[in-house]
C-alpha cells in the first residue's frame, strides 16, 4: 500500500489524533505548575482512590452475597468498608467540586471537564440510592417503600421500579458503576489533555 493510503486508514488517523492530544508526557507528567502544590488538588485523587475502594469491596460483597454480609463478622466488616468508602468518596467529591467551583476550573475550554464531573456526581447519587435499596434488610424495605411514591410521581416508576430488588441490584452493581467509572476516566483524561487550569491572574484573557 502506498503511503497516502496508509495515512488515510482509520487506525493511522486515530493514532495521530490520540498521540497529538495525549503524548506520553501528558498522560504521565513528571512535573506540574507551582500552584498545584496545595491540599485542594488532593481531593480529586482522594475521590478516585475512594471510588476504587468502593468497587473493590463491592466485588468482595458480590462473591459471597447478602446472606454472608448479613450474618458473618467478616461479611459485616466488608459491608462496612463498602459503606465507609462511599462516605469518603462523597465527602472528598464535594470538597473537590467546591474547590473547582471557586477557582472556576471550567475556564479555558475546560467546560467538558466540569460537565463530566457534574454527571458523575449525579450518577453517583443514583448508585448510592440503588445501593441503599439493595441491602436486603428492613432499612432497604423502608427506603424503597418511601421512595416509590416520589419516583412514581415523576412518571419514571413505569420503567424504574424501586420495589423491584432484582432491577435495583443490577443498576447498582452493573449499570451505574460502569457509567461512573467510564465518566471518571473521561474526566481525568480531559484534565490531562487540557492541563490544570491556571490561577485567574495567570490566565490568558477569555474570548467572549
Amino acid at each position: 500500500m502506498s503511503s497516502p493510503d496508509i495515512e488515510r486508514q482509520w487506525t493511522t488517523r486515530l493514532r495521530h489524533r490520540v498521540t497529538g492530544h495525549l503524548p506520553p508526557e501528558k498522560v504521565l507528567p513528571d512535573t506540574q505548575p507551582a500552584y498545584v502544590a496545595s491540599w485542594i488538588y488532593v481531593f480529586g485523587v482522594t475521590t478516585m482512590v475512594a471510588l476504587s475502594m468502593v468497587i473493590l469491596t463491592g466485588f468482595v460483597l458480590a462473591i459471597r452475597g447478602p446472606l454472608w454480609w448479613h450474618t458473618s463478622g467478616v461479611g459485616h466488616y466488608v459491608n462496612s468498608l463498602h459503606l465507609w468508602s462511599v462516605e469518603v468518596f462523597f465527602f472528598a467529591m464535594v470538597i473537590h467540586l467546591w474547590g473547582k467551583f471557586f477557582m472556576a476550573a471550567w475556564r479555558g475550554r475546560r467546560a467538558l471537564t466540569w460537565v463530566t464531573g457534574v454527571v458523575t456526581f449525579l450518577t453517583s447519587i443514583a448508585a448510592a440510592f440503588t445501593g441503599y435499596v439493595s441491602q436486603t434488610n428492613f432499612d432497604s424495605q423502608w427506603i424503597s417503600t418511601q421512595a416509590k411514591d416520589g419516583i412514581n410521581a415523576t412518571g419514571a416508576g413505569s420503567i424504574f421500579n424501586v420495589l423491584n430488588l432484582g432491577q435495583m441490584l443490577m443498576w447498582h452493581i452493573v449499570l451505574l458503576p460502569l457509567v461512573a467509572v467510564i465518566l471518571t476516566a473521561v474526566h481525568v483524561v480531559l484534565v490531562r489533555v487540557r492541563g490544570v487550569v491556571p490561577p485567574f491572574e495567570d490566565a490568558p484573557p477569555e474570548k467572549p
Binding site: 512535573t31 505548575p33 491540599w39
Partner: protein, 60 residues
C-alpha cells in the same frame, strides 16, 4: 464490650435522631455535622501549608 456500651450510650441508634429547625431549613444533626466537617476540611485544605512546597524551584 465496655467500649461498645460506652459508644452505644454516646450515640444512641435505637430511637429517632434529632433535627435542627432553622426557619425553612430542616436538617438532621448527623447531616449537619458532616456538612460542618466538609467546610472545615475545605478551609483547612486552602490554608494548610503543602509539604515540600518551596523546596524545589519550579519552572513553568
Amino acid at each position: 464490650m465496655a467500649g461498645l456500651a460506652l459508644l452505644a450510650a454516646l450515640f444512641p441508634l435505637d430511637h429517632l435522631g434529632g433535627y435542627i429547625h432553622w426557619g425553612w431549613v430542616d436538617i438532621s444533626y448527623a447531616n449537619a455535622i458532616v456538612v460542618a466537617l466538609m467546610v472545615i476540611v475545605f478551609v483547612a485544605a486552602l490554608l494548610a501549608p503543602f509539604p515540600g512546597h518551596g523546596r524545589r524551584k519550579e519552572s513553568r
